[in-house]
């Protein structure tokens, strides 16, 4: 097939997007990841978003690659090139190509003429036929088709083929046969495209140096690194999408960095080691948080990773942790609810649940990272906050942050860091006081010192989730009960000064404020540029922690109108701001996206402009 000249010629360098439509379980994700990593290595800002089904094999899955030299790599909704590898979804995939764009398909089989579109270019590559000829094993023929289409894309958009070849060499350094197959497949697709099409296309890549100080990492890996660096030693968890990789990574990291070989004089002895960690795959999320609380009570840094359904199950014990004042860290990688919802899709639907998790009056400390870099930093901060304030602390990541690869600044560490273990009385401390009562002697932040099991008997006390007075004794007396629960409210409020501060950006002549949270960050920032071009100048605030600092209230108050952009149906962040700061909820207009795919700037711009017109 030859290329057809189209009326509209697109010409973009380092500013376009690709969508790859695949069948899940066929090995496409590694080929797609390969492209993203190669583009990253070319120094160009890029993102890869995996839009995958909750299924092992056979269902449609998509992968989107956005390239943007300015770093706006939120999800794009117009695709310059669609790689259609799944005949089941041809109809919709072909519709998604932007006018003037290209569609690459497997021309081993003829394309239904009804699917043709006049305004786009069809690029047929006989991928299956080529792989059938080049490879003998059935499984290899399927797998290598992916690398072959990647090869064609490499040629079409101008990915540096040497960079890709090096990546394959690195990835398969220990498997020569696989390395050779991959290299051959890459060349198959590449050569075919170079021979048959005008490569590169009008939109293409040119190497930059934007990523010299960056890494390509997903949030779950970064969160696990944070837990490692924070000094977590005990973890209880239950497998759940999209949080599983947090613990998978933590386990791998611990096996590398927390294993101490025991010195042995006998050179022939089997090497023995000790693990400075204990990770328990629990029977459910209730047990996971129970283990974390038990370990926190005992003075170890402990955490669990889960998603919304897990938080629902943990609710009872989260209240226990709150009321008995035990440190715990919970990493919630949010997915679409309610109920099972859509496990492989992203949402910010756990904000209110986590803020007030458990029955009775409970309030928790929440941290909201926007990207993997913040996942690392905030995970570390969670442990300090949990021990300082003696309470469960949540980090609310989401599937988009947790499971997709993001280009973020390199992670850094200060070797002078000393963990904040909070107010814990040693035996010497106990010797210096006449008597110890668990919930007395609070400091300016309403935090009372605690003791750890195994302490001198003078510090022994009875943790109880039942009503207790400030001495830690059982009570059913209103005043004694209220005295403790009122202090807990003040303690929670005091944490506002210690959670990550909001990111606030004020612009000259701004007329409205835009407030957002977590993974909305990039899309909202891009939207603000677009809105600015359309004449609407906006101030920006991204909430990064709860309880809120005064700045959040002030920001809402100082604007006649604020938009609150978040990914849930019920405007949970807006409600939380109204409830907790007392600002009039009418001052905040919601921009909501909750279908399960990562937010795009277009959704924000369209919603803001529409709502501006209405009012």
């Amino acid at each position: 097939m030859t290329m057809t000249e189209k009326a509209k010629v697109r010409s973009q360098v380092n500013d376009f997007s690709i969508k790859l439509a695949n069948v899940n379980g066929t090995g496409s994700s590694s080929a797609n990841g390969l492209l993203v990593q190669a583009i990253f290595r070319m120094g160009i800002p890029v993102s890869g978003k995996n839009l995958f089904p909750s299924n092992i094999q056979g269902l449609p899955t998509w992968y989107e690659i956005r390239i943007n030299a300015s770093g706006y790599t939120a999800r794009a909704l117009d695709y310059d090139l669609v790689v259609a590898m799944n005949a089941q979804t041809y109809v919709e995939d072909i519709q998604e190509v932007t006018s003037g764009g290209y569609l690459l398909y497997d021309s081993s089989w003829p394309l239904d003429p009804d699917l043709e579109r006049e305004d786009i270019t069809f690029l047929g590559v006989p991928l299956a036929a080529m792989c059938l000829e080049a490879f003998s094993k059935p499984r290899e023929r399927i797998l290598m088709k992916n690398v072959a289409y990647a090869g064609a894309v490499v040629a079409l958009v101008g990915v540096d083929i040497d960079v890709v070849a090096n990546l394959l060499a690195e990835n398969f350094a220990r498997n020569e046969a696989l390395r050779d197959s991959n290299q051959r497949a890459l060349r198959l697709g590449y050569e075919y495209a170079m021979t048959n099409f005008d490569c590169p296309l009008s939109f293409r890549l040119e190497s930059l140096h934007e990523n010299d100080d960056s890494i390509l990492i997903d949030g779950n890996t970064a969160a696990a690194l944070g837990c490692l660096y924070a000094g977590a030693t005990v973890a209880g968890w239950y497998p759940i999408t999209p949080a599983t990789a947090v613990m998978d990574n933590f386990t791998k990291l611990c096996a590398t960095y927390r294993r101490e070989l025991i010195a042995n004089d006998d050179p022939l002895a089997k090497p023995e080691y000790k693990n400075n960690y204990l990770i328990i795959q629990a029977e459910d999320e209730i047990a996971s948080i129970g283990m974390v609380l038990g370990a926190g009570w005992s003075g170890a840094r402990a955490f669990t990773s889960t998603s919304g359904p897990g938080i629902s199950l943990m609710s009872e014990l989260l209240g226990l942790g709150y009321y008995t004042e035990i440190p715990a860290v919970i990493i919630d990688v949010q997915r679409v609810g309610p109920s099972t919802g859509m496990p492989t899709r992203t949402q910010q639907g756990d904000i209110l649940m986590c803020a007030y998790a458990s029955h009775g009056d409970t309030k928790h400390i929440l941290l909201f990272p926007a990207n993997p870099h913040e996942c690392f930093e905030f995970a570390v901060a969670c442990f300090d906050l949990a021990e300082r304030f003696q309470t469960p602390v949540f980090m609310l990541s989401d599937l988009d942050i947790g499971m997709n690869d993001w280009v973020v600044p390199k992670l850094s560490w200060d070797d002078n860091f000393i963990p904040d273990r909070g107010r814990v009385l040693s035996d010497d401390d106990l010797a210096g006081i006449p008597e110890f009562f668990r919930y007395t002697n609070e400091d300016d932040h309403f935090i009372a010192p605690r003791t750890i099991p195994g302490s001198d008997a003078k510090g022994a006390y009875f943790v109880r989730g039942s009503g207790h007075d400030k001495f830690g004794r059982y009570t059913e007396t209103p005043d004694s009960y209220q005295e403790v629960i009122d202090r807990l409210k003040l303690k929670h409020a005091a944490a506002a000064a210690y959670v990550p501060t909001p990111v606030i950006e004020r612009r000259k002549k701004a007329t409205v404020g835009v407030i957002t949270i977590g993974s909305c960050d990039l899309a909202v920032r891009e939207a603000l540029v677009e809105l600015d071009e359309q004449g609407l100048v906006c101030d920006f605030l991204r909430v990064r922690g709860f309880p809120f600092v005064e700045d959040v209230r002030a920001f809402v108050e100082e604007h006649n109108r604020c938009f609150v952009v978040e990914q849930n149906r019920d405007a949970q962040l807006r409600s939380l701001i109204a409830i907790e700061t007392g600002v009039a909820i009418e001052k905040m207009t919601s921009v909501l996206a909750y279908g399960g795919f990562p937010l795009s700037a277009k959704q924000v711009v369209d919603s803001v402009l529409t709502q501006m017109e209405i009012s």
């Binding site: 693990n275 400075n276 283990m291 009570w297 170890a300 009872e316 070797d415 099991p453 022994a460 059982y474």
Partner: protein, 351 residues
């Protein structure tokens, strides 16, 4: 009800243990349970067992769930830290605490509602993990605090104080434990201090999860005619054939034990569990024989008590996970954080 401090009444000099402590030092607050409650006898047995073992109070951690039984940790070893958690969840909290600090002696007190209904899953998994702890089920067949509903351990045909007799099969924690590879399974009776104290001592010294099912009659809601967990019923149906003595490591064995009936199991610390009377053909280390024996007794309407099964060769949670001998909560931070240089190096993987 508020917790009440026990009045200190000086008596004749009480015997002291190796630490110079008396049994009073192993007691706690005054019980607020009903007069005659079986649980108070278990509490007393626990105080005695720790006293006799000379366990330093500060090295003990006592945990419980919710229910009458779960109130009792305040009534023993006041010098130990305690944790009265949530209904059915004690095993999970104990697992986490033990994971963080293996150096303490953990004792969990639970009931049949706590352990066999709401917390059954957690109990089973704690058994599987072989968490090194003593786990006491104070089993009375009813929910006391909510006024006498039947629990999952109630026998078929057993009647509550009000309402219809139970028609559902009971859950027997010993049988559950046998099926899961438990390493220490005992059944006893709150009214039998002579049997219970040695079992508790052996449980403390056991290297792994030690489950003790203590039939502990509820005088208020389950001590009537028609109950199979009443003092009367139990005394009439108990079969004490599996009798054993706990012989601590440091005390020389004086008693002459008839060789024909004795079986010894050496505990992890070198102390010995000596079975002084065993039924014909019974082997407390043979899972299938134990199961057969208990079933046989049950079919005759009898309840076998004693240390029914013991396996000292299993690996407990920490051995399975190769953790250090000292508590993870004591590992210095410098050993836990790989540091800045390593962070720079490892990020090469993310390029």
């Amino acid at each position: 009800m508020p917790s009440i401090l026990k009045p200190f009444i000086p008596l004749n000099p009480l015997p002291k243990n190796e630490l110079g402590l008396t049994v009073r030092d192993y007691e706690g607050a005054m019980s607020t349970l009903c007069a005659g409650c079986g649980h108070d006898s278990v509490t007393a047995a626990i105080s005695h067992a720790f006293f006799e073992l000379s366990t330093p109070p500060r090295s003990i951690a006592k945990l419980s769930g919710i229910g009458c039984s779960s109130k009792t940790p305040t009534y023993f070893v006041r010098g130990a830290h305690g944790f009265n958690s949530a209904h059915g969840r004690m095993a999970t909290i104990a697992t986490g605490a033990n994971a963080a600090n293996r150096e303490l002696t953990y004792i969990g007190i639970s009931g049949d509602g706590d352990s066999l209904s709401i917390g059954l899953g957690h109990l089973m998994h704690a058994i599987r993990r072989n968490v090194n702890m003593v786990y006491v089920i104070e089993n009375n067949g009813v929910y006391g605090l909510t006024k006498g509903q039947l629990s999952a351990s109630a026998d078929i045909g057993s009647s509550p104080k009000k309402g219809e007799p139970n028609l559902l099969a009971p859950i027997d924690p010993i049988m559950v434990g046998l099926s899961l590879g438990a390493t220490f399974l005992a059944r006893s009776f709150s009214g039998d201090k002579e049997q219970l104290i040695p079992i508790l001592k052996a449980a403390v010294k056991h290297h792994g999860f030690a489950l003790i099912d203590v039939i502990s009659p509820c005088v208020t809601f389950n001590d009537h005619e028609g109950s199979t967990k009443s003092y009367k019923f139990f005394r009439e149906h108990e079969v004490q054939e599996v009798e054993a003595d706990f012989v601590p490591l440091r005390i020389p064995i004086r008693a002459k034990i008839p060789s024909d009936s004795a079986k010894e199991v050496v505990m992890h610390d070198g102390s010995v569990m000596r079975f002084r009377s065993l039924p014909e053909g019974y082997d407390p280390s043979d899972r299938s024989k134990v199961e057969e024996y208990i079933r046989d007794r049950q079919s005759r309407g009898e309840i076998a008590t004693g240390l029914l099964y013991l396996n000292e060769s299993g690996q407990e949670l920490h051995e399975l996970n190769h953790t250090p001998d000292t508590g993870l909560n004591r590992v210095p931070y410098e050993k836990l954080c790989p540091g800045a240089d390593e962070l720079t190096k490892l990020q090469a993987d993310f390029r």
